[in-house]
C-alpha cells in the first residue's frame, strides 16, 4: 500500500491519505459496486431509450409491453437470453471462445472507473470523490482500455473457428485500430490545454464559476475541432452506426459474434452499449466539464443536494445529451462503405487532428513564453499547411491507382 502511495496512485483520494481501516475499504467497495450497478442500469435504460427514440423517429411505437412504457424490455431480453442454450462450435478454441465476451466487457467498465461522476462527498465519515479510482495518468488509462477492447472482438471472431466471424473480426480490428489514432490525437487537443493526464484535474480546470464558464473554462471551445473528431472517432470505436460495419447484419450475418448464443451473445451487446455510455462519459469529462454546472442557489452551498446530487445530475444531463446524439445518428445515417470508412479515418481525421495539435501547441507555448501571438500563430498555421501539402501530395487522388508492391 505504501508503494502505491509513493507512486501517487492513491494519494489524491483524501480517504486514502490517512490510516487504511475497514471503513475505508468499505467506502472503496461501495464506490466500485455503485459504479458497476450504475453502469449496468444505465445500459439497460439506454437500450430501452434508444429503441423508443428510434421508434419515434420512424413513426413507430417501440417496445411498450414489459413494464410501464416498456422500460423492462431490456431486462426481459436479458432473462430470455440467460436461459437459452449456449452452443459452442466443434472447431472453436473453447477457452478463448468463452473468455472473449468478458474481455470486451471489462475494458468498458474499467474505463468508467477513472471518470469523475460527482464532486467531493463524505461516505461513512470519510471525505472522498465520486470516482472509483483517480489515476495520475487517467487519460492514458482510458486510451489503453479502449485499445484492449479490440481483443475481445478479435479473439471472438478468431476463436469461433468459422469463416464469417473471422472476416467480421478482421474488419473490426482494422476499423478499431484505424480510429484509435484519431481518437488519441483528439484527446491530445485537450491535454495540450489542460497540461495534465489526470481526469480529475481536467475536470477541476473546467469548474463552474458562472454561465460564462461554458465558453471560458470548458475545453470544447479551445479544442473545438478535436471535439468533433473525438465524437466521430468514438462512434467508430464503439461500432455504432454509421460505422457499424463490424456487425453489418446484411453482409456478415452478425460479424464476429455469429457463433455466439445465449448469455455470451448478450454480454457482447452489453459491452457494446456500455462502451457507448463510457465513451460519452469520457467526452463529457474531457470537453464538457464533467460534473461542473450551476448549483441550486436557493439551497445551502454545502447542503446534501448541492454537494451530492447536483454535480451528478449535471454529469448525467451532459451524458444523456451525447447519447441522444448517438441515437439520432443511428436513425439518420446509412452505413458507410468500407473504403469510405478507411478514407475518413486515415485521410481526414488523423491529418486534421495532427495539424490542430501542432497549431494549438504553438499557441499554448507562445502564451506561456510571452511570444508575440501575431507572429507565432501565422507561422504555425503556415507550417501546418505546408505539412498538410506534403501529405496531400502523398495521398492517392480519385482516378489514380496506387503503385503495387513487387
Amino acid at each position: 500500500m505504501s508503494a502505491l502511495r509513493t507512486f501517487g496512485l492513491l494519494a489524491t483520494d483524501p480517504a486514502l491519505t490517512g490510516h487504511i481501516s475497514w471503513s475505508v475499504l468499505a467506502v472503496i467497495l461501495i464506490k466500485v459496486v455503485g459504479a458497476f450497478v450504475l453502469l449496468l442500469v444505465s445500459v439497460m435504460l439506454y437500450i430501452w431509450a434508444m429503441r423508443k427514440v428510434i421508434a419515434d423517429m420512424q413513426n413507430r411505437v417501440g417496445p411498450d409491453n414489459a413494464g410501464p412504457y416498456g422500460v423492462l424490455q431490456t431486462l426481459a431480453d436479458g432473462i430470455k437470453l440467460f436461459f437459452k442454450e449456449q452452443s459452442i462450435p466443434d472447431t472453436a478454441d473453447r477457452p478463448v471462445f468463452k473468455l472473449a465476451p468478458y474481455l470486451s466487457l471489462l475494458p468498458a467498465f474499467l474505463m468508467f472507473c477513472v471518470i469523475p461522476v460527482g464532486g467531493r462527498v463524505s461516505i461513512l465519515g470519510h471525505q472522498t470523490y465520486l470516482q472509483v479510482a483517480e489515476l495520475p495518468m487517467g487519460v492514458l488509462f482510458i486510451l489503453a482500455m479502449s485499445g484492449i477492447g479490440v481483443y475481445g472482438v478479435m479473439l471472438a471472431g478468431w476463436s469461433s473457428g468459422s469463416k464469417y466471424p473471422l472476416l467480421g473480426s478482421v474488419r473490426a480490428s482494422a476499423q478499431l485500430l484505424s480510429y484509435e489514432g484519431a481518437l488519441g490525437l483528439a484527446v491530445l487537443g485537450v491535454l495540450i490545454q489542460a497540461g495534465t493526464l489526470s481526469t480529475r484535474t481536467i475536470v477541476q480546470n473546467q469548474a463552474w464559476v458562472n454561465v460564462g464558464s461554458i465558453v471560458r473554462e470548458w475545453y470544447w471551445l479551445p479544442a473545438l475541432v478535436p471535439f468533433g473528431i473525438f465524437l466521430i472517432a468514438a462512434t467508430a470505436e464503439t461500432n455504432h452506426p454509421p460505422f457499424d460495419l463490424v456487425e453489418a447484419e446484411q453482409e456478415l450475418v452478425g460479424g464476429f459474434h455469429t457463433e455466439y448464443t445465449g448469455i455470451r451473445f448478450a454480454i457482447f451487446f452489453l459491452a457494446e452499449f456500455m462502451n457507448v455510455i463510457t465513451m460519452s462519459a469520457v467526452a463529457v469529462t474531457l470537453f464538457l466539464g464533467g460534473p461542473s454546472g450551476p448549483a441550486l442557489g436557493f439551497l445551502s452551498r454545502t447542503g446534501t443536494i448541492n454537494v451530492w446530487l447536483m454535480p451528478v445530475v449535471w454529469f448525467m444531463v451532459k451524458v444523456l445529451a451525447l447519447l441522444f446524439g448517438t441515437v439520432w445518428l443511428r436513425a439518420s445515417l446509412p452505413r458507410m462503405r468500407y473504403d469510405q470508412l478507411m478514407a475518413l479515418g486515415w485521410k481526414y481525421l488523423i491529418e486534421i487532428a495532427i495539424l490542430w495539435v501542432m497549431v494549438s501547441a504553438t499557441i499554448v507555448v507562445a502564451r506561456q513564453n510571452g511570444w508575440h501571438l501575431w507572429i507565432a500563430l501565422p507561422a504555425a498555421v503556415l507550417l501546418a499547411l505546408g505539412a498538410y501539402g506534403m501529405l496531400w501530395l502523398a495521398i492517392p487522388k480519385p482516378g489514380e491507382t496506387v503503385e503495387e508492391f513487387r
Binding site: V53, D56, M57, Q58, N59, R60, V61, D64, W328, A331, S332, L333
Partner: protein, 203 residues
C-alpha cells in the same frame, strides 16, 4: 446543408402523431365486407335455411366444404323445402374466406360473421361440424372455446355481400334486401347501406 437535411427529417418525425393501433388491447373497426368464420342461418320460425343443394361445396375453390343432403322427414321437417343439409362440415385449415359459398347459396343459409380471431390447437377442432356452424335458438353463432368473440361480430353477417348476392342484382347495391331470420328478423343495415325503399325482387 444538403447532407445534414436527413437529421432534420428524423427529428421532425419524433413529433408527428403515431398511427399505430395497439392491436390486442384496442381494435380498429371491422371493414364492412370482412369475411370471417361462417354460420348456418335459420328462418324466424326456427327452420334451417340450408336445403342441402351442395352449390357451396361445388363453388368452393379450396374444397373445404363437405355437404350431404337428405330428404326431409315428413313428420318433423328440418327445412321448409324438400331436402335439408344432413351433413355440413367446413375445414378451416383449408378455407380461404373468399365468400363464394355465400354468393352461391340460393337461400342465404350460409353467411360469414366478422370473427377472424380463432386458433385451434388440434386438427380435429379445425373441422367445424353442422352442430358448431348452426346458429343457436336465439339466432346467434355458437361460440367455441378457442374463438375470441369480444364484440358483436355476429350481428352483421356478411350483410353487404347478401345485399348483392345472386338472388338480387347490381341495382340492390347499398340496400339491405335479405329475408328475415331467427333472432334478428330482418337485420339492421350496415354502414353504407339503407333499409328503406327496397326494390321488389326480380322474378
Amino acid at each position: 446543408m444538403g447532407r445534414l437535411a436527413g437529421f432534420g427529417v428524423t427529428l421532425r418525425q419524433m413529433f408527428k402523431p403515431r398511427l399505430t393501433t395497439d392491436y390486442p388491447k384496442e381494435k380498429s373497426p371491422r371493414p364492412e365486407r370482412l369475411h370471417g368464420r361462417h354460420v348456418l342461418n335459420r328462418y324466424e320460425d326456427g327452420m334451417e335455411k340450408c336445403i342441402g343443394c351442395e352449390l357451396c361445396a361445388g363453388v368452393c375453390p379450396a374444397r373445404c366444404i363437405y355437404v350431404r343432403g337428405a330428404d326431409n322427414p315428413t313428420d318433423d321437417p328440418v327445412s321448409p323445402g324438400e331436402r335439408y343439409g344432413f351433413v355440413y362440415e367446413i375445414n378451416y385449415l383449408r378455407c380461404i374466406h373468399c365468400d363464394l359459398c355465400v354468393e352461391a347459396c340460393p337461400t342465404e343459409a350460409i353467411t360469414e360473421t366478422k370473427l377472424f380471431e380463432f386458433s385451434f390447437t388440434n386438427r380435429a377442432d379445425a373441422i367445424y361440424t353442422k352442430d358448431q356452424l348452426l346458429v343457436d335458438d336465439d339466432g346467434r353463432a355458437r361460440r367455441q372455446p378457442w374463438e375470441l368473440w369480444d364484440g358483436h361480430e355476429d350481428e352483421h353477417t356478411s350483410a353487404w355481400m347478401r345485399a348483392t348476392s345472386p338472388s338480387g342484382s347490381a341495382a340492390y347495391e347499398g340496400r339491405a334486401t335479405w329475408s328475415g331470420e331467427l333472432g334478428f328478423g330482418v337485420r339492421a343495415a350496415e354502414q353504407g347501406q339503407t333499409n328503406d325503399d327496397a326494390p321488389e325482387r326480380d322474378a
